[in-house]
Structures are given as C-alpha cells and as structure tokens.
C-alpha cells in the first residue's frame, strides 16, 4: 500500500511537471505566425507514417539508420511493458497481463512469454546500439558531432540520454531476472503465480534468473528477501528513469521522439522550390503597376511601416518553431551544406538550434511576467543568435531540407531573415545592390546595353 501511495505521488508530480512544461513549449510554438495547413490530410498522414513512423529518411545513411532502428523499435514495443508497470504501480497488481496473455498460445509458446521475450531481445539490440552511439559521439571522430554548436550542453544532453537508456534496460533486466529467481523459489508476486514454482523462461533474463536462483537460493529467507529488494529496485529504477525521461524530454534535443510525428504531419506539401509568397508586397507592387481594380478594398496601411521578413521568432511561422523543437541535433543538414563543407560559418543545424534557443529565451521572459507576449521587446532578436555572415552564405540549394530525417526546413528561417534585412532594414550584402538596381531598371541582374535577343539575331546572321 505504501508503495502504491508513493507511486501515485511521484506519478502525479511528474505528470504535473511535464504537463506544465509541454504546455509552455506549445505556447512558445504558437508565438509564431499562422501557417497554412490546408491540403490533403491523406498526403500528410502518408508523410507521417513513412517518415516518422517508418523512418524512411533515416535510411539515407544505413549504419546510423540501423542502430537507430534498434533503439526505436525497442522503445515502441517496450510501451506494452510500461503499461503493465503503470498498472502495477497504481494497483499493486504485479504482471497484470500475465494470466490472460499466458493462456493464449502461439506456436507452442504463450503470448506473454513471446511479448516479454521480444522486448528483451530488442532491448539487447538497443543496448548494443546505445554503446555504439556513445562511441560515435565520444570516441570516433565523426565530424558532425564535433562542430562548435555541439560544445557544452548539446554534447552533455546527447550523452545523458544514452546513459539513461542504459540504466533503463539494466533495471528492467534486473527486475525480470530477480522475478524469475523468485518464481523458481516459489515466491513471485506475479498475478496468479503466488506459491507456484517454475520459470518464466524469458529469452534474455531466464539464464540470469537461474544464476540469481543458485546464488541467492543458498541464503533461504535472507536470499528471498534480497531477491525481492533486487526485483523492486529494478522495478522502481525503471519507472523512475521513465519518469525522469518524461520530465527531461522537454529540455532536451530528445523531444524528437514526440514532435517528429506532428512535424512530419505538418510538413509543407507544396514544392520546396516555392518560397512563401508575400501578399502585402504583391498587392503594393500591383498597385504601383496599376494592376489592381481600385474598388477601395485595399486595407489602410496606417502610419507604421510594416515589418517584412523575420527579425525574431514572432516573424517566423509556428511551423518554423515546431521544427526547432523537433530537431535532435543529428547534423545531417550541416554535413551536406555546401557552405559548411567549404568552411563557411553557416551551419543549418545551428540555425535551427538558435530558433529554439531564442524561443526558449522569449518564453522564459514571458513567464517572468516582466514582458508582454503580444508586444514583446527585450532589445534582442534572432540576429543576436544568427550572424549576418551565416545567412549570407546560404546557396538555397535545399541539401539541408533534403537531408533532415524529420522534415525540418532550416532554409526558411534563413530566407525570412534575409527578407527582414533587405526589406525592413534596407541592409544586406553591398554586392547585391547593383544586382537589384540592374534587375529593377534593366530586367537583368547584369547591366548590359545589348538588346535581349541580340544572341538570336547574331546567330541568324552567322547562318546566312
């Protein structure tokens, strides 16, 4: 009973804390501008199923994709066992599904054995993958994990997640093995197995359970008592790490395990070649060119000059901010960026991380109560996080967009910041000024005196 009360208190506290934190992230995402989510729901669903659920884009790089797949499948399947643990926690009913599932037989094995054994097998694979990931991050010199934006917290964050994963698996194995030993001694608490003697025979933990049985079996009551402590320690250890995880996720790059789904669902369906149109500018130019029917439907622009492009997260779309919280900092975008691979300062991953960090800063300041969310001004902006040199280096080649396994678009914030710089500040690279002037006055980015079809008339003359 004490265990259940303790469990309920911890669970409610964790869920409460996490709920508040997830709410704040949702609020931060909504600080962005409206984003058009029209278009086929079936197409959106397909993206989500293929890319998030099916990991399609991960497989551009086979080795990390396979390692990631091990952890991913183990994580998804483990949820079955997690449900059982939660029921146990609240009701004290150990292995709640055992009586029902063990009565269903498939191919000579009972269903319960099959599920738990599968989870155990997958967990071993996940454990191997986790060690491989730790090695990739810390021992192997993989460039995308060693860039400047990966110093400090991002590096710690990546390792913390992997450590938690190891503890998680260790705890569940300890619990299953100790429970198996108790079963052999006729002392398991499992639903319907009180005083029964046997073995669960789980694929990975049965041999471990046998070892524990032989060792602790020597100490009679004392041994049973120690096994029970071991079993509970594994149980509590596992669920506490799960809770820790739940509360830690919203502070971590690991949030992608949740946000990958909405992020792929809401990914744009139109061609990536289309930059978002700016109807305000279009209408103004139309008016200038005398192309609008002047039936007085134009909005009064007012005295204040409108702000074009993005200076801060408020000028981005909420999808851009959702992108930033979905990013797991894998760096595939940066490793294919032509500017980055030739030593320029631009790193698409850093741009995405900067959007998130700025959204966090703005969110924290709003929570402090000193700032108004609707008229936010703390004297800072995205330009304090992303330098002009970075946004000027982009070739808009879309390699980063193509590379992202969860359909983040690092290019959009860059282009929106360029728009702010050029349209609102009238700044930007000096080299571009003559190009703009030339296009505006001569219809070509180069100042040329020749007629536009001179090449054709010359060629015709040559042929004659």
């Amino acid at each position: 009973m004490i265990q259940q009360i303790l469990f309920a208190i911890v669970a409610i506290a964790v869920f409460g804390f996490a709920f508040d934190r997830y709410n704040k992230i949702y609020r931060n995402i909504r600080l962005g501008k409206d984003y058009d989510t029209s278009g086929s729901e079936a197409a959106r669903m397909k993206n989500m199923l293929l890319v998030a659920f099916g990991q399609k884009k991960m497989f551009k790089r086979l080795i990390p994709a396979l390692l990631h797949l091990c952890v991913y499948i183990a994580f998804v399947v483990t949820q079955i066992e997690l449900i059982e643990i939660l029921i146990d926690g609240f009701t004290g009913n150990h292995r709640y599904f055992y009586p029902l599932l063990s009565s269903i037989s498939i191919g000579g094995f009972d269903m319960y054995w099959f599920i738990i054994s599968s989870i155990e097998g997958l967990s071993v694979l996940a454990l191997v993958a986790t060690f491989a990931f730790l090695a990739r991050r810390n021992l192997l010199k993989i460039p995308r994990f060693r860039m400047s934006e990966m110093k400090g917290w991002p590096k710690i964050d990546g390792n913390v997640i992997l450590m938690l994963e190891i503890i998680l698996v260790t705890c569940i194995f300890t619990m299953n093995a100790a429970d198996d030993a108790l079963y052999r001694l006729g002392h398991t608490h499992t639903n319907g197995l009180h005083h029964e003697v046997g073995s669960f025979g789980f694929a990975v933990t049965a041999p471990l359970g046998d070892l524990m049985y032989q060792f602790f079996g020597q100490f009679d009551e004392m041994g049973i008592w120690m096994l029970e402590i071991l079993e509970r320690a594994g149980w509590w250890g596992h669920i506490l790490v799960v809770f820790l995880f739940l509360g830690y996720l919203p502070f971590s790059k690991h949030l992608h395990i949740m946000l990958a789904f909405p992020n792929t669902y809401f990914a744009p369906l139109n061609s990536r070649g289309e930059m978002e149109n700016m109807p305000d500018v279009m209408n103004e130019v139309k008016m200038m060119m005398g192309l609008t029917d002047m039936d007085g439907s134009m909005d009064d622009p007012g005295d204040e000059l409108p702000e074009f492009g993005a200076k801060d997260i408020f000028g981005l779309s909420w999808k851009n901010i959702l992108d930033s919280y979905t990013c797991t900092e894998c760096g595939r975008c940066t490793s294919v960026c032509p500017a980055n691979v030739t030593g320029k300062k631009l790193s698409p991953r850093k741009v995405v991380m900067a959007v998130r960090d700025r959204a966090e800063e703005v969110g924290t300041k709003i929570d402090s109560g000193d700032y108004d969310a609707n008229n936010f001004d703390d004297g800072k902006s995205l330009f304090d996080y992303i330098s002009r040199e970075e946004i000027h280096a982009c070739t808009t080649c879309n390699a980063c967009v193509e590379a992202c396994p969860v359909m983040i678009n690092p290019l959009e914030p860059i282009l929106k910041m360029r728009r702010y710089e050029i349209l609102t500040e009238s700044a930007g690279p000096g080299d571009w000024v003559p190009m703009f002037t030339s296009i505006e006055n001569g219809g070509s980015p180069w100042q040329v005196a020749d007629a536009r079809d001179k090449w054709a008339t010359d060629a015709t003359k040559e042929n004659e």
């Binding site: 700016m278 080649c397 690279p429 190009m435």
Partner: protein, 255 residues
C-alpha cells in the same frame, strides 16, 4: 513572340531564354544550341525578346521581394497577354520560378526544362540522333543542378539523354538527391563568397576531376560558369570541357 502573334500564329512552345542565355557569352552559346535543336526537330517556337525580363529569382532569394514581385507581375502580364500555355527554358532557376512561384501570383503555365523537352523529342522520334560528334566515346560526368534536381526532382531526363548518346558516364560521388551545389544559387552568383576555407565551385570541380572525366555536363548556365571557373582555377581547361547537354546533341547531330 510579338511577330507570331501579329501573324495570328501560335507557337508550340515559348522558349524562355533567361538573362544568362540572353547576355552571358557562354550561356548564349547554349541558347543557340538549344534553338538549333528545336529547329532540327521542326518545333515552332517563339521567344519574348525585349519583352522578357528576369524572372526575379535572384532578387527573391536574396530577400528582395519587391524587385521579385515587379519582375514576376510584369512577366505574368506579358505571358498572359500572349496566352502562353507552354514554356521551355534552359535555366533551372527560371524553370523553378516560372513553374512553382508564378502560380501564386496568377501565372499558370506548363513549364518544362530543356533537358526534359529534348528527352521527350528523342523519345517521340521527333529528334533523331545521328551518332558521332566530338563527344563520342568520351568519359563524361554529370552535375545535377540544385533547382532541377533536388528542388524539382528531375534526375532521370538528363541522364536518359546522356544514355542515348555514345559516351561513358561516371557519376559524381555526390549525385542526384545528394548532389553538391556549384556555389551559385541563392544569389551567391552576384556577390563575393563569405569567408571560408575554399570556394564551393572548387570543391565541386575537384570532385568532378576525381572521376577522370574529360567532359563535365551541366544543365544550368550558372553551374557552367562555376564549373568552368573551377576547371580554370585547377588549370585543367586544356583537358576538361564544361558543356550543357544541348551542346552535346548539337555536336552529335553536327547542327
């Protein structure tokens, strides 16, 4: 176009030459090559001539939406006035903007890139390849431009043309969806590079030279400029040529 319209004729397709094709000495040769191919295939085509202007792509990607809108709206007025339905262009940037960005501004056309157009002509038997020419049997490599390849997913049409010509294609290490930019996109063509270790076109040219190809084939006037500069910087201009696919056809058919 205006002459054809005055005679009451309608071209099968409008050839959008683009600024590079119109003014850049190297790209003008590509424009002539493509025009020769259309003549060979007896395609009634028109150009806008003085009535064509920049699509606005370099302005838009630099962030200058005003200049983009000015160009785009003017072009759409012109295209709609002539009731243009089908446009072909040898520039992937023009191709992308006409195809993907003009619809939101009221310009809806069937836009194809010249590599798709030529490939269709070959498939339909309207363009017969004669065989031979300067590129026969040569070891070549093909550079995917970002705006034809990754942005618009056209990888196969150019490769199909190359396969129908007699040559030995060696793919670049980074090709198709993984293709590396030449360095010109996003208005980089019109400014100095930001500080770094290397120019992007040099990185790409080095990769192309690694294939041992004698010919670097491209589909974009800006890629051609960038790769040509790269080849010169590597002092390989005597051994390695940078050409547009259309120029290979012209050589093949001795047009």
């Amino acid at each position: 176009m205006s002459e054809m319209a005055a005679q009451g004729k309608e071209p099968e397709v409008l050839y959008w030459v683009g600024c590079a094709g119109s003014f850049d000495a190297r790209a003008q040769k590509v424009a002539v090559a493509f025009a020769k191919i259309m003549n060979e295939a007896e395609i009634p085509f028109a150009i806008l001539g003085q009535e064509e202007s920049c699509t606005g792509d370099p302005a838009r990607r630099a962030g200058n939406e005003f200049v983009f809108q000015m160009m785009a709206l003017q072009n759409i007025e012109t295209l709609n006035m002539y009731n243009v339905k089908r446009i072909v262009t040898a520039c992937p940037h023009c191709f992308n903007t006409l195809k993907n960005e003009y619809p939101a501004l009221g310009g809806n056309y069937d836009v194809i890139h010249h590599t798709q157009f030529i490939n269709d002509l070959i498939k339909e038997g309207r363009l017969k390849l004669k065989g031979g020419g300067a590129f026969q049997g040569k070891r070549i490599t093909y550079h995917d431009s970002c705006y034809l390849g990754r942005v618009n997913g056209v990888y196969e049409a150019p490769r199909e043309i190359l396969a129908s010509l007699d040559n030995h294609l060696v793919e670049l290490k980074r090709s198709k969806t993984n293709g590396l930019c030449c360095g010109a996109g996003g208005s980089q063509m019109f400014k100095e590079d930001e500080p770094g270790d290397k120019r992007i076109n040099i990185e790409r040219t080095e990769e192309a030279l690694e294939t041992g190809a004698e010919v670097i084939v491209a589909n974009c006037p800006f890629c051609i400029t960038m790769m040509q500069d790269g080849v010169k910087a590597k002092d390989k201009q005597e051994e390695v040529m940078v050409v547009d696919i259309s120029e290979m056809i012209v050589s093949n058919n001795r047009l």
